[in-house]
Amino acid sequence: MSETAIHPALRNHLRDGQPPLISVQDLFVQFGDRQVLQGVNLDIYGGETMVILGGSGSGKTTLLRNIMALDRPNSGHVYIKGVDVTTCPAEELSAIRRVMGVSFQSAAMFNSMTVGDNVALPLREHTKLAEPTIRLMTQMKLAQVGLSGVEDLLPSQLSGGMRKRASVARALAMDPEVLIFDEPSAGLDPIIAAGIDELIVHLQEAFKMTIVIVTHEMHSAFLIADRMCMLHRGKIIAVGTKEELQSSTNERVRQFLERRADEPDDESPNFVTGF
């Protein structure tokens, strides 16, 4: 890509001469008096799997929602393929969203539609493909995630893991460049969760997609990630490869990696004794 074709805001963020596919710059988000994101900067490059780690309430889902342009920040920018999704017009945002597939924490399947209709929905909405072609593509997408023969079932008839897989099939329907997962293994037993991790790794290897995952499951994160970042109280406190994160000397990162509880506050009562 020539230097002039690159958005000016991304020219200082090149890696191997390529701009980041997703670039979050100085992102501030506030809910009421609570500052949720405090100047987050993060670059995600094409073809890599970025895992966003962080404890509950650290702001990871808020960051993800801003990357998906589902929320607007108080200030800062999110560039996707060089387009600032925080300020771009609705038509441009719609075009950007078509290159992104999202698997939500709750799977977010439309309960009134069959699994097949769920997966076919983006195809019916955004393409002029004939119905037999759409049906064939739906079957293919479901087969890709290991779910064949469930087209006519309702989402409520699937198990939690199957629903997650079906939501990934729907996210894959438009052959997205970016696949986003919000807590992919939340609420699943370890065996099903491992299956979802394998699926993500398989998708990355097979389609060389850019994958962004929000999770607090350390085992999954180390299995899936090319690079990881860690959010704490709305700030990114570490970003790097798995090895770089593992060798981090940041106390909060070490605490998270070693699964240590917070030190008890001297002034707060002991929950066990009450004193």
Partner: protein, 265 residues
């Protein structure tokens, strides 16, 4: 200071609510063209036809029953007073005019609010809670176009139909009263009713039906889109949709009636 602050906050919230409804109304109007079966989306058209069946045909029996009962109540109440003046035949005017101008559209709106307004808000509210609305947006599908527009177009078609059915039921029930009290045949009663009614009554009835239908769809959907706080929030939004819709429908009715009284006699 606290009093003024709470009045100020409440005022701002009300203005924001009306503003939000206004924006949603404009977006709903703009996206309604996508519902047409020729150049629009076939998915939207199919959803619209389904909505017509649910909110229109589904409501028809109860609308007719309630309006019929209302027409009969009007006849009994009016008859009891008019008989004292030997003017029992004016029950025909009373029932015909009040059902057409006022009670037909109003009773229809109240039934539709109970059946559909609450269901719109619960349906959309549940979709908000389960991230389905976010999923639509992430797939570049406009939730207003996908969820609201089919309901709006279906309501615009079915609300006048339901109102006509309600008015007819009420008038026919009045005919039952005159048959037993005045020994008047149904044919004579209907001819007398048609003589009483003028075009203005029918037009005002249809305008009210369309305005009430717009209020019901937009308040129901708006409350649904605003849901926060899980299943409790969904329940609250359904209640709020019913209460606010009834209030706004009665307010709109008052304004429309005053307008027709003042400017189109």
């Amino acid at each position: 200071m606290t009093f003024f602050a709470s009045v100020g906050r409440s005022t701002i919230e009300k203005i924001a609510y009306v503003g939000g409804l206004g924006i949603q109304f404009w977006k709903g109007l703009r996206s309604s063209y996508r519902v047409n079966p020729i150049t629009g989306s076939r998915l939207r058209w199919r959803a619209t036809v389904e909505q017509m069946a649910v909110l229109g045909f589904g409501a028809m029996p109860v609308v007719c029953l309630i309006s019929g009962a209302t027409g009969l109540i009007m006849a009994f109440q009016g008859g009891a007073e008019l008989r004292q003046f030997g003017a029992l035949q004016f029950v025909i005017n009373l029932v015909g005019v009040s059902m057409t101008r006022e009670l037909g559209p109003l009773m229809t709106a109240i039934v539709v609010i109970g059946r559909s307004g609450s269901s719109f808000s619960a349906e959309i509210g549940t979709m908000v809670v389960t991230e389905e609305v976010d999923a639509l947006r992430s797939m570049a599908i406009d939730p207003i176009e996908f969820l609201l527009a089919p309901k709006y177009v279906a309501m615009m078609v079915m609300m006048p139909c339901l109102t006509i059915a309600a008015v007819t039921s009420g008038i026919l029930a009045g005919g039952l009263f005159t048959y037993f009290t005045l020994d008047m045949s149904l044919g004579v009663y209907l001819r007398a009713t048609l003589e009483v009614l003028v075009l203005r009554d029918i037009i005002s009835s249809m305008i009210k039906a369309i305005v009430f239908g717009t209020i019901i769809v937009h308040v129901g959907c708006f409350e649904g889109f605003q849901v926060a706080g899980g299943p409790v929030g969904v329940g609250r939004s359904a209640t709020a949709a019913v209460v606010k819709s009834i209030f706004l429908v009665v307010l709109a009715d008052l304004m429309a009636t005053a307008f027709f009284y003042l400017f189109w006699q």
